[in-house]
């Protein structure tokens, strides 16, 4: 269908019009408001909001914690994806379905549930306490919640990539004399690398913006366990719209960079091994 050519299919005007209207009202307008507000704020106020010690501490936690959580998800997500893709065991289908639970479960519910499990007298928390590990109301708890929320991304991007690695390639490598570990290192991992990185990035992005699952287990101690989204909420509650907008801008900028990275990664993955209509 060339642009400008009369098309047979109807509905172009109607659907495009409605879609554009909807998006403008629901997305563009609010974004414009944000941009304008940020633009109209005097610089020193912006810097105050964005670079205050409390904000900086929250960046360290939000970005740093999300990064750590994404790394954990990188490892465990790969292990889980591998297990689901390659092994058969009782309960596999159930496990496969459960991976999507963090998608479906409201964040508030996972928040209080995680806290209950890892609190000092919680089901798992009590054992960790005995080992001297505190989870609830610490940074560790924040990272834990971030890991939970990002886990489905790490698994669901790697799983199809693993399944897609043609069996033939591994068989060929074996007939050529390669042992299993060699095949893993040189044949499988390079093939799924783009997917692994995409999963990492998605998990990171999700963990960065997460609110509900984190605020219950974190304790929200300023300068210690306060995440950036919570700081934004506090500014809003104090009617400091400018401060909130400035912080929001920082987070949005980070989100855009991440989105860009994801798109680039996916394009890179496609280029490396262009499938020729197979």
């Amino acid at each position: 269908m060339r642009e400008g050519q009369p098309t047979v299919l109807p509905g172009f005007g109607l659907t495009l019009g409605f879609t554009t209207f909807f998006l403008s009202a629901v997305v563009l307008l609010p974004l414009a408001a944000l941009a304008l507000l940020a633009a109209s704020t005097p610089l020193h106020e912006l810097l105050d909001a964005v670079a205050s010690p409390r904000a900086l501490a929250s960046y360290r936690l939000s970005f740093g914690g999300a990064l750590l959580a994404a790394c954990i998800n990188l490892v465990f997500g790969f292990i889980i994806a591998w297990t689901l893709a390659r092994y058969d065991f009782p309960g596999r289908k159930l496990m496969d379905a459960m991976i999507d639970l963090p998608f479906a479960l409201p964040t508030a519910v996972s928040g209080i549930a995680l806290t209950a499990v890892f609190a000092t007298n919680g089901w798992l928390g009590r054992y960790l306490e005995m080992a001297g590990i505190h989870v609830a109301y610490t940074r560790l708890g924040v990272i834990l919640a971030m890991t939970l929320i990002g886990m489905p991304f790490a698994v669901r991007t790697v799983q199809p990539a693993l399944l897609e690695v043609q069996r033939d390639l591994e068989d060929a490598a074996e007939t050529l004399g390669a042992g299993r570990w060699y095949v893993f290192r040189r044949v499988i991992v390079p093939a799924v690398l783009p997917a692994i990185l995409t999963g990492f990035t998605l998990a990171f992005a999700r963990a960065l913006g997460e609110y509900g699952s984190v605020i219950f287990i974190s304790g929200n101690l300023p300068m210690k366990t306060e995440i950036t989204p919570l700081l934004i909420v506090i500014h809003l509650e104090e009617f400091d719209y400018r401060g909130a907008a400035a912080l929001g801008f920082v987070m949005l900028a980070a989100s855009f960079v991440i989105l860009l990275t994801i798109n680039l990664l996916q394009a890179w993955g496609r280029d490396r091994m262009v499938r020729r209509g197979q």
Partner: protein, 290 residues
């Protein structure tokens, strides 16, 4: 009856391959399965179980008592209402956007797609904040709204808007790749055979996309009922009025009414489980994402 054997490269063939089942391989397999199970048990199963364990800690009576609370009932009603509004609206939007994007070529198509993906990429708090910036007391329209006695933020309309914002991509994101993949041939054939626009849509397109549509609706609904961050910013937390179920959970939890909080949480958990079940049913019917 043919003598067709195990598909080459299948797990069955692998199982009989000489040198395949080594001690090391078996050990690796067991460890990996063990690690996965332990990881998921700690992170998924335990929280899931603790919801119900805590909710029923005081027995069935206490559990049911939690729902007798009028504030809780109001929260449940508000959540249902929100979903009832957000899901149909977003379904219509999703269908409309998917139709425009999948069937036509136009300038700005990629921009449109990026915009549609946006709410998923940004933090829910920011999503809510955007509406506060627009309609809050000191927002763009704040003065005008106050003058006319309309409240959006800290009232139900705000909650609706915020939920709409965070959930609208779900249906669209399912349908766009699906419809792109299915192509236009059938619709074009229908048009040339004389069918009108609506008839083509209902008789030709809708049946083709029904599983993807259902999948998107299920996800949209789960998010609509469970959204916390965005709604929390916009709602004002007025008990009995602007608290949805997730907010009610937070309120009860902060009041140390754990049984109450987990009782409400148990309802949402059941919803989540139902969502997962529906998802697998749809997937089993053959619908595979992208």
């Amino acid at each position: 009856m043919t003598a067709a054997g195990a598909p080459p490269g299948s797990l069955e063939e692998l199982a009989t391959r000489p040198g395949h089942e080594t001690v090391l391989a078996a050990l690796a397999r067991r460890s990996l399965i063990g690690i996965s199970v332990a990881f998921l048990a700690a992170l998924l199963l335990a929280p899931l179980a603790v919801v119900f364990a805590t909710a029923f800690r005081g027995g069935l009576q206490v559990y049911l008592q939690a729902f007798a609370d009028p504030d809780t009932q109001a929260a449940i009603r508000l959540t249902l209402l929100t979903a009832l509004v957000a899901v149909p609206v977003n379904t219509v939007f999703g269908l409309s956007a998917a139709w425009a994007i999948a069937k036509f070529d136009f300038r700005g198509k990629s921009l449109l797609i990026t915009l549609i993906d946006l709410p998923i990429a940004i933090s829910p708090v920011i999503s809510g904040m955007l509406f506060v910036l627009l309609f809050g007391m000191r927002g763009w329209f704040g003065a005008w709204l106050a003058a006319n006695g309309i409240s959006i933020v800290f009232a139900i309309p705000g909650i609706m808007l915020a939920t709409l914002f965070v959930t609208f991509p779900y249906v669209a994101r399912e349908l766009i790749p699906l419809m792109q993949q299915l192509g236009n041939d059938e619709e074009e054939a229908a048009i040339t055979l004389g069918a009108g626009a609506w008839m083509t849509f209902f008789r030709v397109t809708l049946p083709k996309i029904r599983w993807g549509l259902l999948y998107g609706v299920i996800l949209c609904n789960a998010r609509a009922m469970g959204e916390f961050g965005a709604v929390s910013v916009v709602s004002g937390h007025i008990r009995g009025l602007t608290n949805t179920m997730p907010l009610a959970i937070e309120a009860l939890y902060n009041d140390y009414d754990f049984t109450g909080a987990f009782a409400v949480a148990s309802l949402l958990t059941l919803l989540a489980v139902a969502t997962l079940v529906l998802k697998s049913l749809v997937e089993r019917s053959g619908y595979r994402r992208r």
